[in-house]
Amino acid sequence: MSAQGPGDALSPLERHFSASDLVLYGAATWDWHRLHYDQAFASEMGLDAPIIDGQIYGALFAKQAMDEFGPKAFVRRLEFRMRNMAFAGDTLVARGEVTERRAEETREVLSLNQRLLRGETVIAQATTEVSLPARTICR
């Protein structure tokens, strides 16, 4: 059952990031920057461990929206801000809710607030707009 209107929560999305997950994401995006897998380089940069590439947070926020609203949904805007770094070995959970719903020609547009958490720590925050064919939402 998907969120339909303001105040409705999105289903949480949990993701663990092992070191090999970071390598896999780097390769899949043609980005082999060693900050995401090289412990010695991360230390040189003053970091405790290789960091998760913040770009993947956008993909997770988009995935949470697509999982919630189904294959006819279209993510048309997504803006995210980094709040804290996250590292190889971390488990992050995306949470969010619908903040607004409005009709636009043949589509319904939902605005979302989303955040990515490690425990209580906010790693990133997003505002997202998803559009759906009008008939897929009924209330």
Binding site: R15, D21, L24, Y25, A27, A28, T29, W30, D31, W32, H33, R34, L35, F41, M45, G46, L47, G54, Q55, I56, G58, A59, L60, A62, K63, A65, M66, D67, P71, K72, F74, V75, R76, R77, L78, E79, F80, R81, M82, M85
Partner: protein, 166 residues
């Protein structure tokens, strides 16, 4: 420490164009979805995607703005092969502050995507700890083979002096 020198400022307004190298392709889409642990059939099953009204399977929403596939550059000494401004800034680490994406339609495996990056602005701000930080805002415009806009990615990166690191 003044990070925003005249030499750095001179980079504002620069533009680089990356012409399309090839179609995005089904393999890149499936690989990206795999890396996200996403088994949505929309990204791997043409028949399913057509039932949903799409021309073929589509890419996950943010693939177009996350992949460096378009750049066709050899990895640098740190392994990075995507777009990069060679700003004359030393002794800093670079951190992502955030991105703002706008999408006009789902990306198809047949899309041949060209990208133009523009360095929109560079400003220096004081951090909460009193040090200087350099905020660099760039915009990437992704266009399909017909020249129509597929996605806009406004990206903000921060250059932080290493000695100010936590």
């Amino acid at each position: 420490m003044a990070l925003l020198s005249a030499a750095v400022k001179a980079w504002i307004g620069r533009e680089v164009h990356y012409p399309a190298v090839e179609e995005i392709g089904r393999a890149s889409i499936r690989y990206f979805a795999r890396a996200l642990g996403d088994d949505n059939p929309l990204y791997r099953d043409d028949a399913f995607a057509r039932e949903q009204g799409y021309e073929s399977l589509v890419a996950p929403p943010t693939l177009v703005v996350e992949t460096c596939q378009y750049a066709d550059r050899a990895p640098d000494e740190n392994g990075y092969a995507g777009h990069h401004w060679d700003l004359p800034v030393t002794g800093c680490r670079m951190i992502r502050a955030g991105n703002a994406y706008e999408f006009t339609r789902p990306v198809l495996p047949s899309d041949r995507i060209s990208v133009t990056w523009t360095l929109e602005d560079i400003v220096e701000r004081t951090s909460s700890k009193g040090g200087s930080l350099l905020f660099v805002t760039s915009v990437a415009r992704h266009r399909d083979g017909a020249g129509d806009l597929l996605a806009v990615n406004r990206e903000m990166l921060v250059y932080q002096p290493l000695e100010a690191g936590e």
